[in-house]
């Protein structure tokens, strides 16, 4: 897969983040951006082909994929999942407080006070 295509995934996330009217949809868009970043890094680590970076008694023919981006992306996945959980928990609290999760309605209610 081409790195340019993964950047398209990131841009789709940006577009959704700018246009979504719902807080939960915004959280989804953040995870879409995150998936795009993960795909981009995995691509850049494997530009010239290669198999998974697990070595037996000898190195695999054709070389291995770069293990460093893969190790970094494990970090990203774990942190991303927990941050998403934190954001969704905040969404629940916002819903309990305002009774809605629409950006426009919350903003108008805040400015009306």
């Amino acid at each position: 897969m081409n790195p340019l295509l993964t950047f398209v995934v990131i841009l789709i996330g940006f577009y959704g983040l700018s246009t979504s009217s719902n807080i939960i949809k915004s959280v989804f868009c953040v995870t879409i951006i995150e998936s795009g970043v993960i795909l981009l890094f995995l691509n850049l680590g494997n530009l010239d082909g290669g198999v998974i970076p697990i070595i037996g008694d000898a190195l695999p023919v054709g070389g291995i994929a770069d293990p460093l981006p893969q190790a970094l992306m494990i970090t990203t996945i774990v942190i991303g999942s927990t941050v998403t959980a934190l954001a969704l928990m905040l969404c629940i609290k916002v819903f309990h407080h305002y009774g809605t999760v629409e950006w426009a309605e919350i903003l108008s209610r805040e400015s009306g006070k």
Binding site: L4, Y15, L44, P53, I55, G63, T75, M89, I92
Partner: protein
């Protein structure tokens, strides 16, 4: 409408910048780091899985803070979801909707298999795909299936979080043991000349501890959400 067109135009400019910057990627790309790790990774760390070699040995500092961020996020979720009234055993969302019997039966069948698979992935993290973080997620999923089988299950979140904090301190201690044996922080505590099989003991130990920590953390997050949905 005009706003969206402007937005698409701006995103197009971003894509153009990325496209231009990717033009010379073939010249910038090199394989020095990859070749070094492939040549010396197994002898240095005793791990056949080079991703685990980086996670638990070369860049252990990263992984420690990753586990720390998981702990902080779990604490944040618990703190945000705190309720004024102290309920002893929260009524879970699941028993509002009657769980189908088929679900319950298959959950009983799958639950031990998932637990065993999670432990397999954790313990073999240094020879096969997997490791503490992935296996911990599988074990957490297996624990969540318990709620399908018995929705009235009582979970003591405070105890779980305390165990998790103790585990995190234990991980830090095991990671700093290398200061005594090797004279440097955050690497394998066996001496550098030890055989790969000896070094693997350290990898298995740290993988198991990280796996337990991740499983407990995800379990806590899920329980907090279930209590919200009651």
């Amino acid at each position: 409408m005009i706003k969206q067109l402007i937005l698409i135009g701006l995103l197009g400019i971003l894509f153009g910048v990325f496209f231009v910057s990717m033009q010379d990627i073939q010249e910038l790309y090199n394989t020095f780091g990859k070749d070094y790790i492939a040549a010396t990774g197994f002898a240095d760390t005793g791990s056949r899985n080079l991703v685990t070699a980086i996670l638990l040995d070369y860049r252990l500092f990263d992984s420690l803070f990753e586990a720390g961020i998981l702990l902080i996020a779990v604490s944040g979720v618990i703190w945000i979801s705190k309720h004024e009234s102290q309920e002893k055993n929260a009524q879970f969302m699941l028993d509002k909707f009657k769980t189908p019997d088929l679900f319950v039966t298959f959950s009983r069948l799958v639950y031990p298999l998932m637990l065993a698979f999670g432990f397999y992935v954790i313990i073999n993290g240094h020879v096969s795909p997997g490791g503490g973080f992935q296996g911990g997620a599988i074990i957490a999923t297996a624990i969540l299936i318990l709620y399908y089988i018995d929705a009235d299950k009582d979970t003591n979140i405070a105890l779980i979080v305390t165990i998790e904090k103790i585990l995190y301190i234990a991980i830090l201690l095991v990671a700093s043991l290398s200061l005594v044996s090797r004279g440097e922080l955050f690497t394998n505590f066996f001496v550098i000349d030890a055989s790969p099989d000896t070094k693997a003991i350290y990898l298995v130990l740290l993988n198991v501890m990280i796996g337990m920590k991740v499983a407990l953390g995800l379990w806590t997050i899920f329980t907090a959400f279930l209590k919200e949905g009651r």
